[in-house]
Amino acid sequence: MARVFYPAENYVGTDTGYQLLPFRFIRLDDANELLVNEVGEYILAPTGTVASFVGKQLPRSSPLYSVLKSKHFLADSSSSPLLDILATKFRTKFDFIHGFTKLHIFVVTLRCDHSCHYCQVSRQTADKAAYDMSIQTAEKSIELMMMSPASHVTMELQGGEPLLAFDLIQLMVPLAKKRATAFKKSMDIVVTTNLANATDDMLRYFRDEGVMVSTSLDGPAFIHNANRPRPGNDSYELAVQNIERARNILGPQRVSALMTTTQLSLQHPTEIIDEYVRLGFHSVFLRPISPYGFAIKSAKKTGYRLKEFLQFYRIGLGHILNINRSGYSLAEVYAKILLTKILTPYGTGFVDLQSPAGAGINVLVYNYDGDVYATDESRMLAEMGDFSFRLGNVHQHSHKDIFTGDAFVKLMAASCNQALAGCSDCAFQSYCGSDPIFNHATQGDIFGHRPTSDFCRRNMTIIKELFAQILKHDSETMRIFWAWIQNSSLRQISEVGPA
């Protein structure tokens, strides 16, 4: 039988209309709407598109029709909706849940030599015995970490100032490594320290044990020292010297810095960013300040308004983009997390911006006294007398007790933004997250009130800002964003080709 060629119309099938597949939408501005599907793929369309699309008025011949079809916004009789493909993509987006709790924070001591205004820990300047983790508590906490199903865990040593309890660290590190081997887990260890007390021996110890260092750099001297008072008022000078020393001993890839934003910081985004560039860092995290712990007690010093932060962020992001355009690779970490969710098939396991919320599911905090908390912020609340999110104690409770206990179970009800008022319809749902503890601390209940929620407004504004950049379709900006997402330099992205 001779083969015949058929025209294109033969493969389109009869027009029997279309069915909607699940999606959400938002008005971006007066002229545009954004449609977003279940896995975060978006389509920008003129205002009114959603109404006509939902009203089954969209003609098959419209170019938008085939885009909507191939991005799983609609299905019709001419081909299969490929729901199994969509399911696989959905599973990929949520792969970050796999393994359950991956970040384990150990508060090895509450003692600290600094008095930072925003500190989320009470200042405790003495009494080692009372405020350091005991070795028994450390052992039990490490055992609890090993109960996590994750095949890879991150052990974060924190405080107060953890280096004040260096002896304890030297016992915990080998113990944790031994237990990780026994449980067939791989493990990263990080110590978050102001480095003021770091001796060369300590740094060499960290190098030899493969421990990474995360330190604070709030900006140039006048900001850093104002934010982080210490006897001698030399926190900045010490930090810079010690970052250099740590880099020399551990290697620059093993030393990272985080800034914390205060009222003073909000006035100086470009100076802070320039300081990071001056010191040779290639990423900066423009973080909002958490409204917890000490910050609330000294509200005057850290009185902080969301609007000012958003302005700070916008100026900062613009400045960072210009720095990249001039040839220096510098990623903004919060943008990178959001861009990964917006532009790639993957989700992210950043505990402050995930749904289901990171609390417990992705992070667990073991306090110096053995109490176990869902997040670091939950621990701050406890310092102020609010124990709502204390999940248990390593000396009294098993892994199962903790995760089936009332505190955790109650938290779960508000952990998925898919099921929260306001979020369940939001177009940005797959990019955003939920933070029941933030809601509790700022609005009085774990569910929160979305229209007045700072968490919501902050994320919606930043997401819209990023979309404004993306929808400019400027190829240089996009290359910068993709370099951030892939942790490579702009030059590497531009030179892509065979080796």
Binding site: R3, N10, Y11, K69, S70, S79, Q486, V496, G497
Partner: protein
Amino acid sequence: MDSKFKSSSNFRGRTRLRLTTSGLPNSALQKSIIGKVTTDPLPIAERTLRILVSERVPEKLSELNGYGGFLTRTKLATQAIPVPSVSSVSEIDHLRTNDIVVIEPNNGFIRTLYRPDSDHNVIFATERCNSNCLMCSQPPQDRDDIEALTERNLQLIEIIDPPPKRLVITGGEPTLLGKHLFKIITALRDIMPETYVHMLTNGRIFAWRAFTAEFAKLRHPDFMLGIPVYSNDAATHDYVVQAKGAFDQTILGLHQLARYGLRVEVRVVLHAITVPRLVELAEYIYRNLTFVEHIALMGLENIGYAPRNMGALWIDPYDYQSQLESAVELLSTRGMNVSIYNHQLCVLRRSLWKFARKSISDWKNIYLSDCLPCRVKEQCGGFFKWATKLHSSHICALS
């Protein structure tokens, strides 16, 4: 669209390669015979499976004893040659020692199956196909050749020596072989495990999980499937491949292959039907087929079905550089591995040169006479030999 350019020999100055010839079979040639060519006589102990190729017939016919076959340009009268042979062969210059050929009894057809000095050797699985692509360079035949070709291919695999760096399994649609394909892949795995095998397939059968599971069990150590996806729009893809439901099956097949850890590459032939939505397709591949190891964007071959469908297919490659550049930019900035095949450097935008490969198989690769003075000729992949009839209007030597 005839060209004023004439084809030139490839720059090494050898006569153009050919893979087929024919002559008059003798009565001893009763069935297809595979053998390794020798242009010099061999001692008796080494003559099994060897095919002697010679201008002339030896004085004593007994000198031919023991050979698997004999090919000669000479016209034979009534001499009875004791071994299967073909005489009055029109061309024998292309046959080199250790080439592997098959000689056919009914028509005296001599086909080269394997050349040790080529990087482009192919295991031809079948002429059957369940698609019917508008631009197919190897149009299907609805004749069941699978048993015969499988037997031939298994023999071929046995006598290839030394094992090549790479082999391509192609057709038609190789997966139509079913169990026979598994036999071939198993033979390749066992006999030449270091040889990289690339299989060109429409991938549709892999939508059926049971088949993919069986395929995965073969555990070939270095295997990749090259699967075409022509559009993000199902109707357009189905139109190009002339098969309803092909897009759905192909995408599902790609996912099953990924699930079983099998390596895949996506291929896109660029022509007037695929180019308009090329950037959307690039985005679709990134979002839905993120696991693919490589994406090949390929220039159209003016052979097979393509000439008769050229009205719907032709677009000068120079005229789609904008879409090509955007698609390559999209994929490469996202960390996807992209190559451009079958395009000449004078037609490609400068930014795309680093993605261009010298992809055309040696036996069908030419340069045009206007290419001789071109400064980047060594770097450029040149043309298919049928490009003399149809190519971009923007070909010019670069200085």
